[in-house]
Structure formats: structure tokens, C-alpha cells
């Protein structure tokens, strides 16, 4: 038969075909290396959306955020609506607990709705927090910021509630919205709404 096209050993591939395959293997190898480095580089990330501003609900986002940071996670907490109160330097020290609609409280709703009851239940809770060596909200904000947690205050809610950037703790990120929060959630391994 014709010997014009030099065949490879065993008469399999032509030199051109072999070169093409080698190129293809090289491409695949570099693509694989790229994917591998992407997977390795993706550091762990958690995003929490904090929406509540009562004394009891201020704790979970801050405790989880600071703990995740200790586990080496990159953490963002996006505070929106009443969650903003947690970052408000003055208001965060006066967060309240409501006994109304809370069946875990030792008073029935009709009593809980009386004037002054929120103040009383809040004082009870604050005493319990102090008695059990639980950190204050202020302390948790401090350690969170120190551990590199990005505490963000939703700009739309700042405007809505008539707050000023200066009202928030030093180190709090302002000027952020739903899109930036969503973008961070896309990259995160854990996303929580609290």
C-alpha cells in the first residue's frame, strides 16, 4: 500500500494526529490544573443576614460569626431592618426583649402586654446574661471586628430609619446593599438568615 503518510508504530496514528492529540492532552492538563487551583483557593466563607433587633436575637449572628472566624472562615454579616440596631452604638446597649408572643416567657400575653413589661423582662434577661458569664453584645461586636468579621449595615435601612453612618461602631461597613450581599452569598459555603 501507499507509504506517503508515515504511520506511527503499530501503524496507528499519523504524526499529525499524534501531535494533535498531544496538544489536546496539554490543553486538558492545563484546564485541570486551573480547576484544581480554583477549588484549593476557595477559602471557606459564611454570610449571615441579620434581620432582628431584640436582645435575644442579637446574639446568634454575632456568636456564629465570631466562632466561624476562629475556624478560619471569612465572615460577612449583613445587618438589615431591625438587625441594624445591633450595630448602632447607642441602641445596641439598650436592646429589649419582648414577652408578648413569646411562649417561653413566664408571663401570659395579657400580662406581658401591660406597660413596663418589656422593661421588666429585658432586665430579667440581662441579669441572666450577666449571671451566666455570657458576653455583652458590645463585647461580641468588638471580638467579631477584631477577628476580621465584616459587619455590614444595609444602606437602604440606614436611610429608612434616618440613621447616620457615624451612629455605628467604628469598623462597621456602610454603603452596601442587597446586590453586594447577594454577591457575597454566591461565593459563600454557608448562608444564613437570622
Amino acid at each position: 500500500m501507499s507509504t506517503e503518510t508515515p504511520a506511527g508504530p503499530e501503524g496507528g496514528l499519523s504524526a499529525d494526529q499524534a501531535a494533535e492529540l498531544l496538544d489536546r492532552i496539554e490543553d486538558l492538563e492545563s484546564e485541570l490544573a486551573e480547576l484544581r487551583s480554583e477549588v484549593d483557593d476557595s477559602s471557606n466563607k459564611m454570610v449571615i443576614i441579620a434581620t432582628k433587633g431584640t436582645l435575644d436575637m442579637a446574639y446568634p449572628p454575632l456568636i456564629l460569626a465570631s466562632t466561624a472566624a476562629a475556624f478560619g472562615y471569612e465572615v460577612t454579616v449583613f445587618h438589615t431592618f431591625w438587625g441594624l440596631e445591633i450595630l448602632h452604638e447607642t441602641n445596641s446597649k439598650a436592646l429589649k426583649l419582648s414577652a408578648v408572643g413569646n411562649p417561653n416567657m413566664p408571663v401570659p400575653n395579657v400580662v406581658a402586654a401591660l406597660p413596663g413589661m418589656d422593661r421588666m423582662t429585658t432586665r430579667m434577661m440581662r441579669n441572666k446574661i450577666a449571671d451566666n458569664d455570657v458576653a455583652s453584645i458590645e463585647e461580641l461586636i468588638e471580638v467579631s471586628l477584631e477577628s476580621g468579621v465584616d459587619l455590614q449595615a444595609c444602606q437602604m435601612t440606614i436611610d429608612l430609619l434616618g440613621y447616620d453612618e457615624a451612629d455605628f461602631y467604628d469598623g462597621v461597613t456602610t454603603g452596601v446593599g442587597a446586590a453586594s450581599a447577594f454577591q457575597e452569598m454566591q461565593d459563600a459555603d454557608i448562608q444564613l438568615l437570622i
Binding site: I63, T67, A69, A70, D133
Partner: protein
């Protein structure tokens, strides 16, 4: 049991999540081969610090002890930096 402790972190009187967060902070300043002793009164620190060490590269939980100090329960943790 005697342990070659480089540094001691006292988190007595502090509750969750502080023992873990402070442990992480003190652990970072260790050099390879050094051991941190963490002294806590939070009973939850037993599982919390164990979980933290398991998930943290270079941290090895060598030992945990439950003791009492003047009638208070005290939990001691020994974490070594392996690299």
C-alpha cells in the same frame, strides 16, 4: 501528667463563644511544637475546643482534663501547634 506548656490562657468566667475565640487568638502566636494550655470554667468548652482543634490545620488537641478548683469545675485543654 506533666505537660510542656509554653503559654497559659485563662478564660475562667467566660462563656461561649469566648473560650474558642481567645484560644484561636493565643494559638496564632505559638511557634511550631509549642503547647498552649487553656483554663476554662465553661463546660461547653470541652466539645467546642475539641471541635475547633479538629477543624484547624496545625492544631492538635493533646489532652483535656476536668478538675476542680476551690469547688468550681475547671476544664483544661492542651493544644499543640504541629507546623
Amino acid at each position: 501528667m506533666s505537660m510542656d506548656v509554653t503559654e497559659t490562657l485563662d478564660v475562667k468566667g467566660q462563656n461561649c463563644p469566648m473560650p474558642v475565640i481567645k484560644t484561636k487568638g493565643a494559638f496564632e502566636s505559638l511557634a511550631a511544637g509549642e503547647t498552649l494550655e487553656v483554663v476554662a470554667t465553661d463546660s461547653g468548652s470541652m466539645s467546642d475546643i475539641a471541635g475547633w482543634a479538629e477543624s484547624t490545620e496545625g492544631a492538635e488537641l493533646v489532652e483535656q482534663q476536668e478538675t476542680t478548683d476551690n469547688g468550681d469545675d475547671v476544664y483544661k485543654h492542651y493544644v499543640t501547634k504541629t507546623d
